[in-house]
């Protein structure tokens, strides 16, 4: 068992090495050692801990993890929209050749939507009820493109609506006149208005029925190809995600515990938590036997020492209770944060 796990030899630790991944084009998004803490009354909650990953243009990353594992926090940190009591403690977010962490507030405001777009969790309530959809698209364009002519703004909005398969008449409508799926599409249309290099969609399908879920995912897929953006899809539904993304990242208690391609993740997950996630997916062979993950997700305020997952881990070793595992890149290019893959384990 151990030998099978160890067949991938780890190479370097620390994340600087991770961004210098050998193959593939120049990354369009580099997230380095991102760290976010919420200073709550009950204490400090480290919601993001040393999170690093890279994405190339046209690449799609699925971000999964239990509720509260820090997925939305990661997205908000990348947008530099963490609000008090939260604070970005460390790390860098680089889009193209712009280091977002170094921008002043006004430059960051301009970077939102034009370089990096966020399609929020809960698109149902993300549209202003008293403004027409069109007005909410136009103001977004206007705030980034000073002096753009009316007709050119209009064309841009019309094109975005068309890209997400919405009728041009939606432009004159109000949010309450749209279905949930249509609202989600409007949010996507707004997200692609300025052809950003990175699009983050936070649970874009969670409030939709299965048919609409697929349509929305296909829409994201199509517009993503159209503007060749890097996409981060946050969600819980591994099955749905598997059909659309290239890579899957698994978060646990604020850390990225594994980043692998979809194929690798589904056929040979490395991290014990990722394995548990995959084996808890229903399939025809284990029909009726629902396999959950024993134990509860830990409170960020009282994280277990060492590896946060060790109390629930079936492979836990002595070292897991005492020492925090490093982020490691295996020879195959997969990233795993687990002592099982230490050279000397």
């Amino acid at each position: 068992m151990m030998s099978e796990v160890l067949s991938d030899r780890p190479t370097t630790s620390r994340t600087s090495a991770l961004s210098a991944r050998p193959s593939g084009p120049e990354p369009v998004l580099r997230v380095q050692n991102l760290e976010v803490t919420y200073y709550t009354d009950a204490g400090r909650a480290k919601a993001l801990d040393d999170v690093s990953f890279t994405l190339s243009a046209g690449e799609k990353l699925g971000m999964v993890g239990e509720s509260g594992s820090g997925k939305s926090t990661l997205a908000l940190a990348m947008m530099r929209m963490i609000k008090p009591p939260g604070r970005i403690e460390a790390g860098r977010v680089i889009v193209g050749d712009t280091d977002l962490t170094g921008l002043d507030d006004d430059a960051m405001r301009k970077a939102r939507l034009s370089k990096i777009a966020y399609i929020p969790q809960g698109a149902m309530n993300s549209l202003n009820p008293v403004m027409r959809i069109g007005a909410q698209m136009v103001d977004a364009v206007k705030s980034h493109m000073n002096g753009e002519s009316r007709s050119s703004i209009g064309d841009r909005c019309a094109h975005a609506l068309k890209s997400v398969d919405l009728d041009a008449s939606v432009f004159r409508m109000y949010a309450h006149e749209l279905s949930g799926g249509m609202k989600q599409r409007v949010c996507i249309a707004i997200g692609i208005l300025l052809n950003p290099q990175v699009i983050i969609a936070d649970e874009p399908t969670s409030a939709l029925d299965v048919v609409t879920q697929r349509q929305v995912m296909e829409t994201i897929d199509r517009v993503q190809k159209e503007i060749n953006a890097a996409v981060i899809l946050i969600g819980h539904d591994m099955g749905l995600m598997a059909q659309f993304v290239d890579k899957v990242a698994v978060m646990y208690a604020g850390r990225l515990v594994e980043v692998s391609t979809v194929r690798e993740m589904f056929t040979d997950p490395k991290h014990p938590y990722a394995r548990a996630l995959i084996s808890s997916l229903p399939n025809l062979d284990n029909k009726g036997v629902f396999q959950g993950i024993p134990g509860l997700a830990p409170s960020l305020l009282r994280l277990p020492t060492g590896c946060a997952f060790h109390p629930r881990c079936t492979h836990a070793m002595d070292i897991c209770g005492t020492t925090r595992p490093e982020v490691r890149m295996l020879a195959s290019g997969r990233v795993v944060t687990c002592h099982l893959f230490n050279e000397e384990a």
């Binding site: 947008m79 929209m81 609000k83 008090p84 405001r109 301009k110 970077a111 939102r112 939507l113 034009s114 777009a117 966020y118 929020p120 809960g122 698109a123 149902m124 309530n125 993300s126 549209l127 202003n128 009820p129 008293v130 403004m131 103001d139 977004a140 705030s143 980034h144 109000y174 309450h176 006149e177 949010c187 707004i190």
Partner: protein
């Protein structure tokens, strides 16, 4: 079709309110044991205006003149048709002035002061309240609302008296009362307008200080809810500038329930008028009502009550048609 039905329903409601209010003001004086005319002339007789023996004769003559000797039903029909023409009869005290004459003389004063201050308080209070709840506003700006909130604890009477004492009496910055300076004859000149405006400042301040805090409190509560809404966050994700987010996404939504509050506040205008007009010796509906009460001028009292009822009911119905204009979600229903 639905809209038409709504209009008809609201209109019927309005008629119902006016009809009930006028019926009540018709019934009460006629079925109360007191007689307005008798009390009025008994008072005059006591003061020696004429011999008590003539009293009954005068009363009978007056009752004939006011139509009080006719059958009740006839009186009711006459009364109601009068109401329809906004004819509330004659004042007993200031006969032969009609009630509606007196109201229309007093009304511009009250409206000029109260309408302006109510609107100003609404604008100032809501803006300050919205800013106070907006986390991105500068700290000092957010704090501007606080003194107004503290002032809501001061009763309007005290507020008026304090202003009079310090600003008017001690500092002698502004006149102590009245609508214009004594000895000045009202005319259409800038000088007179300025004189009048000076007399309105203290009462206006008393009214504004008294009501801004209320708006601040309700708006701040609303603002705290709205600023956490997903659409406000998404506006920020879109990279909009702070002013646009504040104005178009936050303020516009937070204001919606306040507009209903505004209509209700217009209904309390007369109460404030009575207090403020009597402290500052200003002409207006409040003073008219007070004088009428003091002199048992029942037609004027009932006329004012009825007039206010009709005005408030009309405003409420009008609000129902204004609301869809500011909230598109109501339009569909």
């Amino acid at each position: 079709m639905r809209t038409l039905w709504l209009v008809v329903r609201r209109f019927l409601f309005l008629i119902l309110v006016i009809w009930s209010a006028s019926t009540i003001t018709f019934i009460i004086p006629r079925f109360s044991p007191r007689s307005a005319i008798r009390e009025r002339f008994a008072l005059l007789a006591r003061n020696g205006g004429f011999s008590p023996g003539d009293l009954e004769k005068i009363i009978t003559a007056m009752q004939t003149q006011f139509g009080l000797d006719k059958p009740l039903l006839q009186q009711y029909v006459d009364y109601m048709s009068g109401v329809l023409r906004l004819d509330f009869g004659y004042s007993l005290n200031k006969y032969p002035s009609t009630v509606i004459d007196l109201i229309s003389q007093a009304l511009p004063w009250t409206l000029g002061l109260l309408l302006v201050t109510t609107i100003l308080s609404f604008l100032i209070g809501n803006l300050l309240g919205a800013i106070a709840a907006w986390p991105k506003a500068p700290q000092w700006l957010r704090a501007v609302a606080t003194p107004f909130v503290l002032l809501t604890g001061v009763p309007p009477v005290l507020m008026g008296v304090l202003l009079l004492f310090f600003v008017g009496f001690r500092l002698k910055l502004l006149p102590l009362g009245g609508a214009y300076s004594i000895g000045v004859i009202p005319n259409w000149s800038w000088g007179f307008a300025l004189d009048m405006a000076q007399h309105q400042i203290l009462p206006a301040l008393a009214l504004i200080f008294g009501s801004v805090g209320g708006w601040v409190l309700s708006m701040r509560g609303m603002g705290i809810t709205i600023q956490g809404e997903d659409y406000v966050n998404f506006a920020e994700h879109k990279g909009l500038d702070g002013v646009s987010i504040f104005r178009d996404y936050y303020l516009r939504n937070a204001l919606l329930p306040q507009v209903t509050g505004f209509a209700l506040a217009l209904g309390t205008v007369v109460t404030s008028a009575i207090i403020i007009e009597s402290i500052f010796f200003l002409p207006g509906i409040g003073t008219l009502l007070q004088d009428a009460i003091k002199s048992n001028d029942f037609p004027v009292i009932y006329g004012i009550v009825l007039f206010i009822t009709i005005t408030v009911a009309t405003l409420m119905v009008a609000m129902e048609f204004v609301y869809p204009l500011i909230d598109p979600r109501i339009r569909k229903q």
